[in-house]
Amino acid sequence: MTTWAVDLANVGPVYPWIGFEVIMVLVAVALWILWHIVQIRQENEDYAEDIRLYGDRESIKKALEEHPV
């Protein structure tokens, strides 16, 4: 938009980059899928680290003592 000296009855969309909606959607969808991929990788690493540090029998028993049911 370059001016508000208009009859609003004749105004429709006013956001930037009108005409590029499909491209914006494709970028957003790609980012959404990427988010899931990164999240699952992080989660796998997180659990592996949990098990490496505290996954032995004695550590788990100690954990249950620290945080009982």
């Binding site: 956001y15 959404w32 699952i40 505290y54 954990a63 945080h67 049911v69």
Partner: protein, 455 residues
């Protein structure tokens, strides 16, 4: 917006839906508090994040394809009258897709955005229903994929079919479910049950002889406030299911005269006043019977209130308040009994009773509405089947099993086959938050040691 009356009607409708969206936000706050309160202390951070991230993930996917599905699939596609996707025309899906100019700041359209947002909040709710039943052993990443499936795909398909003024289930079956006993609650409960069967119970939940152990909520007060907030948001949910004001000429159906009215999603007349009375009467019926059947158990009394509303919701646009009261009571009685039978018989660990409160009560509510409203018109338009018991029974099966249980079970199986569904056994035993809590305690100890050294 050309004259004052149309401007006032438009702005009132815009503001009306905006208020319902804000009220419905409390449902999600309530679900988060409820789940965190019901989980054990060593799992509450992961539990909180699991439900919180439903908000952005279902929001963006509902923007990408959920809203489009609602407008494209009222005929199935190809289930009714041989029609495929509905893409063109005044309510065609093309104008509600993510690339449509109506979805951005558009001075020529003041209603699409708030209407989209109201539907979106329903989507969060249906995903949250599933969330609570899976706590303390489902991987967050797996749940978020399940949340996208139900929040942005399966529930909105059922809404297109049975919760749309032109949906094939309404036309062909006379399906009536004004406040979503089936289209939100039964599908949520059915999906949760499908996932739970694959996921399995929490470690230690059942004794060797199959007797269930009680996992006591770590914070019953958080659970209480959470459920009160869900009740509060439910008021907004009811209002959001209505069209607040519309003229017979705009509906363009069989209604004669010039009296403007509120309508259900099917454009059948009702009043905000009626649904407010019926909401609170069905809540009361659920609370009263929930208290008795559970012998005063607070968890089931509160859940009883919720199940009461859910059981009466399908017909609360038309019921007498006493009918809503009694149906609410029947809803929690059946849900409570069925929950405990299923738990013992099939070793299903539904941590918050979501399958019962939403699934069984919702299913029952749709079936009861078929009998109670038998012969009422399902639509203001000509050529639609009248409300009837068989149509609503088939509808309840579609909601709970076809679009709820089956997709939940299949997706859980797929995730499980990749090792992505359940947290590793050691992590479940030590607690999902153990490392975080342990490191926080070490940090506190470091500060204490430093302060002692300075003393």
């Amino acid at each position: 917006m050309g004259d004052q009356l149309s401007a006032l009607t438009t702005v009132f409708t815009e503001f009306y839906y905006w208020v319902t969206v804000v009220l419905m936000f409390l449902i999600h706050v309530g679900f988060c508090m409820y789940e965190v309160g019901a989980s054990r202390r060593r799992n509450h951070l992961k539990t909180l994040m699991k439900n919180t991230m439903v908000i952005p993930l279902v929001t963006i996917t509902f923007f990408f394809f959920g809203w489009w599905i609602y407008w494209a699939l009222p005929n199935g596609p190809w289930i009714f009258e041989g029609k495929g996707l509905i893409l063109d025309g005044a309510t065609g899906a093309t104008q509600f897709g993510p690339a449509s100019e109506k979805m951005g700041t558009n001075l020529g359209d003041r209603l699409t955005g708030v209407f989209w947002a109201a539907f979106l909040l329903f989507s969060w709710t249906v995903a949250s229903i599933v969330s609570g039943s899976l706590i303390e052993r489902v991987r967050s990443g797996a749940f978020w994929i399940i949340a996208v499936m139900i929040g942005s795909v399966t529930w909105i398909i059922d809404a297109a079919w049975g919760w749309h003024f032109d949906g094939w289930m309404v036309k062909l079956l006379g399906y009536h479910d004004a406040y979503a006993s089936g289209v939100i609650h039964a599908i949520g409960g059915g999906t949760a049950l499908g996932v739970l069967i694959v996921l399995g119970p929490r470690l230690g939940r059942f004794m060797a002889d199959g007797t269930p152990r009680e996992f006591v909520p770590h914070n019953p007060w958080l659970v209480t406030i959470g459920l009160f907030l869900i009740y509060t948001g439910f008021w907004g949910f009811y209002a959001a299911c209505n069209v607040p004001i519309i003229s017979p000429a705009t509906i363009a159906g069989q209604i004669t005269g010039e009296t403007w009215t509120a309508t259900t999603i099917y454009l059948t007349p009702t009043t905000l006043s009626a649904i407010t009375v019926n909401f609170i009467m069905s809540l009361s019926g659920g609370l009263l019977v929930g208290y008795l059947v559970s012998k005063g158990n607070p968890f089931w009394t509160y859940s009883g209130g919720l199940a009461g509303i859910i059981a009466a919701s399908a017909g609360n646009d038309l019921y007498h308040p006493i009918q809503a009261l009694i149906i609410g009571g029947i809803g929690i009685y059946v849900a409570y009994k069925l929950h405990h039978w299923v738990e013992r018989r099939f070793k299903i660990d539904d941590a918050v009773g979501a399958v019962a409160v939403h699934g069984y009560a919702g299913f029952l509510g749709v079936v009861i509405a078929g009998f109670m409203l038998w012969g009422y018109p399902s639509s203001p338009f000509d050529g639609f089947a009248a409300i009837n018991p068989l149509g609503n029974f088939i509808g309840a099966i579609i909601m709970f099993f076809v679009l709820g249980f089956v997709p939940g079970y299949v997706l859980a199986k797929i995730l499980n086959s990749f090792g992505l569904l359940r947290v590793p056994r050691q992590v479940e035993l030590m607690g999902l938050d153990f490392r975080t809590l342990h490191e926080e305690e070490q940090a506190r100890q470091d500060v204490r040691d430093a302060e002692k050294a300075l003393a």
